[in-house]
Every structure is written in C-alpha cells, then in structure tokens.
C-alpha cells in the first residue's frame, strides 16, 4: 500500500505545487517552488553522471563479448575518456581550461565540429535523391503537396524572385496562413494531450515513476 501511495503523494504534492506557482506566484510559496526547481537542476546533473557510467557499461560489455562492431565501442570509450579528461582539467594547468588554443577546444573545433557539420550537410544530397525518386504526383493530395513544396522552396531563395516573380510573397502567404492554421490545430491538440497526461500523473492515474 505504502509503496504505491507514497510516490503518488510525492508526485501530487510537487506537481500541484508547480501548477499553483505558475498561476499564483506568491511570496513564501513561490520561494519554495523555486527551491524545488533548484533541486531539479541538481537531480538532472546527477543523471549526467549516470548516463556516462551507462555508456561505459554498455560499450564495455560489447567489447568484452566481442559483439558486432565492438571496435567502434573502443573508439567511443577512448574519445569519451579523452574529451572528459581535458574538459575537467583545471584552468591553471598548461593543458587545461576552455581558452582558445587549449587541447579541449582544439579537439572541439577540429574534430567534433567538422564531423557533426558533415553529418548534417549530407542531408542535402539525400533530400535531392529522395525528392527525385519519391515526390511523385500519384494522387490529387500528392500533387498539391508537390506544388506547394516547389513554391515554398523557390520562394525561399533570391533566385526565386527572378525566375518566378511573386514566389516570395506566395511563400509568405503559404507559411503564415495555410501552414499556420494546421500548425495551430496540432499545437492546441498536443497542449490538451499534455495537460491530460500531466493531470493523470499528478493524480496517480498514470504512474511512470513507480512499478505496480
């Protein structure tokens, strides 16, 4: 009984506290709610430590059992340890700190940034290939989608104004009117769903924080 009711009571107390504070941010009560937010930040910081340990454990097991692609796990662990070590070194050490030219920022600028940027840049190539193969006018809806996509794409670049005068204005109208109407509907729906889920959690109807 207590295993069920105590977590539910804690969830109800803190959940209700934050909701009330949002609408009535009053003196002493507001201070307590802010204190709870600070606790939240501390708990999240601990979650990072748990996350790092979990990465080590999962990849350590993979290496130990020589599972598929286990060599990549070695790379993951080495890079994590190296970046973490340099990142944690105090500023007064010759190879520590976050100043420009420090080993940590050198690795960030010359390894991490180009690799991440490359991954994202590849999207342009895949989008072009996918557009050629999949954007087919198979039905009325698909035709509408394709025509709208072409207008939005051409209206989004300076060349559009030259090749298709008025495309920029048409794009703005599509984005601010047609697109906006659909987006608002989705957002209101999502917000109502979030309120409903939050209420279920606060009232203990749904209990993601404990096992029954």
């Amino acid at each position: 009984m207590a295993r069920r009711s105590i977590p539910t009571a804690i969830a109800f107390f803190f959940g209700a506290m934050m909701v009330v504070n949002y609408f009535v941010p009053w003196g002493w009560f507001s201070d307590r709610a802010n204190q709870v937010q600070e606790w939240g930040l501390i708990v999240v910081a601990f979650a990072y430590i748990l996350g790092a340990l979990n990465v080590m454990r999962v990849h350590g097991h993979k290496i130990q059992r020589k599972e598929e692609d286990w060599r990549f796990s070695i790379v993951t662990i080495i890079t994590m340890v190296v970046m973490l070590s340099f990142g944690l070194m105090p500023e007064h050490w010759a190879i520590g700190g976050m100043e420009r030219g420090s080993p940590f920022l050198w690795m960030f600028d010359n390894m991490y940034v180009p690799m991440m940027a490359t991954m994202y840049s590849l999207l342009a190539f895949f989008i072009a290939s996918a557009a050629f193969r999949a954007f087919k006018v198979r039905s009325l809806e698909a035709t509408l989608l394709a025509v709208t996509a072409v207008i939005v794409m051409i209206g989004a670049v300076p060349l559009g104004g030259i090749l298709l005068p008025g495309s920029m204005e048409l794009r703005t109208w599509i984005m601010e009117t047609l697109q906006n109407v659909g987006k608002r509907g989705i957002m209101i729906g999502v917000a109502l769903g979030a309120i409903s889920t939050s209420l279920k959690i606060i009232l203990g109807i749904e209990r993601p924080y404990g096992r029954d």
Binding site: M119, F125, A131, K136, I154, A156, P158, L159, L163
Partner: protein
Amino acid sequence: MPNGLDKPETTLEKIERMDRRIVFLAIAITIILPLIWPLGLPIGVSPQVDDFHEAIESIPDGSVVLFPNDYDPASKAELYPMTVAILHHFFKEDRNLKVIGLGLFPAGPPLLQKAFEEVAVDQYGAEYGKDFVNLGYKEGREIVMASMGESIPQTFPTDFFGTSIDSLPIMQGIKNYSDIAILVNVSAGYPGTKEWVQQVVSVFDVLMVSGTTGVSAPEYYPYYNSGQLAGMLEGLKGAAEYETLIEEQGIATSGMDAQSLGHLVIILFIIAGNVLFILNKRNKNRDRGGRF
C-alpha cells in the same frame, strides 16, 4: 525485368532509375561553383526579419540583452552566420549594449565563444566580462529557463571558463528577467524558442525575437503571428536578409547563391522525376492496351 513486364527496360525507365550518385554529383557541383564564383543575387528582406531588426533597435542604449544560442555544430552552417550577424548589430553602433550569452545545447557555448571573439573582440574591441559574457551550458532545459526567472546568478554561478560571475562587472545588478531588455534566441530545436516562449515570454513578459533553422521555422510562425515573438530569422535566408539590413555582408550572403542553385536543382529533379513517372506510366498503359 525491372519494369515488371516481360520486356526489356526502356530508356525512360532506365533514366527514372538513374544511379543516385549522379544526383549527388549534380548537387555537389551546383553548391560548390557559386561558392567559388558568387553570382551576387539580390536579397530581399522579409517582414519578420524587418521586425527582428526593429525589436533590437527599439531597446534603449546600454540595455542588457540575453542571448541564448541553443544549437550545436550540426546546425552551424545555418545558425552560426546568424549569431555573427546579430553580434554585428549589437556592437556596431556603439550603443553600449551588454550581452549575456549562454547555451542549452551542450556543444553550443564554445561556438558562441568563438563568435564573440571573432566579432565582439576582434572587430569592435569589446571586453569580456564588461561588454559581454558567456555563461556556458547548464543542463535542465525548461527548469533552467524558469529558474533564471528567480535568479540568474544562482542558476549560473560561474561562466563558461569557470569564473564566478559575481566578479564580472557586466553581471553587477543583474538579478532576473526584470533586468533584461530583450531575449534574442538562436535555436535549432528542443530546448529552444518554443520553450523560451512558454517558460519566459508568457510568464515574465519579456520582449523576445528568435532565429531558427529553416526546417524548424514553421513551428514558430504561430508565436510570431500572435506577437509572442517580435521578429524571426528563418534559416540561412534569414541570416542573409539580416546581413543586408545591417549592411554587413558575410558568410550568409555568400551562401545564399549556393542555396539558390541547390533549391533550383532539387526542383528540377522533382519536375524531371514526375515527367518520367507520367511518361513511363503512359507507356505501360499503352503496352497493356489501356488508356492513359
């Protein structure tokens, strides 16, 4: 047979199934060439970009600006030029604006620091800790935003370099959002613009503008229409338009030619793909004795 019939594949069918490396090559050429030989296409200014500029112009000289840069290197190509252009605007006219930067993406603050050094320090001689500060990264997403409403120094006791912010002149007298004139967010997704609007604009009534990636911009149009965002920059195009407005042409303007041709080639591929699709469908129907 690849066409599903007992017939050899026609030329049109072969073209429709063309090797995707040809598409990749076409895109690569159209992106690289204008970067080497710029076309200098004229750049118009959208109303939302104009509003963004006006919002920053509207704050009094000497105001404090909160400048969260919520993105990482994956979005650098689109958003870093935006950060640079905005910093030019902050420091260009000697308005004595105090800029407090931070990032809610772990890899964001080093990029912001680089932009501060390239623009604020190298070009305008601004001083760290006096004219601008980088508070660094703090995990906690919406909790961080809400917590800054109570106390910014408590939420960020140290800056990006681990220095206590109490020792920085720029942070003297800064308590919470009531000391902030405008929130200028550069955002690649979650946590970002949407969360700043929900947690800060609607609760603390702070003036806010946002620069976002092109792909996430549709998400924020409702907030711009409702006035919760006073202005908006949309992807590299928004950054290029902003550079035009502040008369400081940079990497976004030079990238727009490449983006223009890239979009054009993708559109041509869509049209070509559909023409081939329709012709092949008509031929198949004819072979089966039906009508198109």
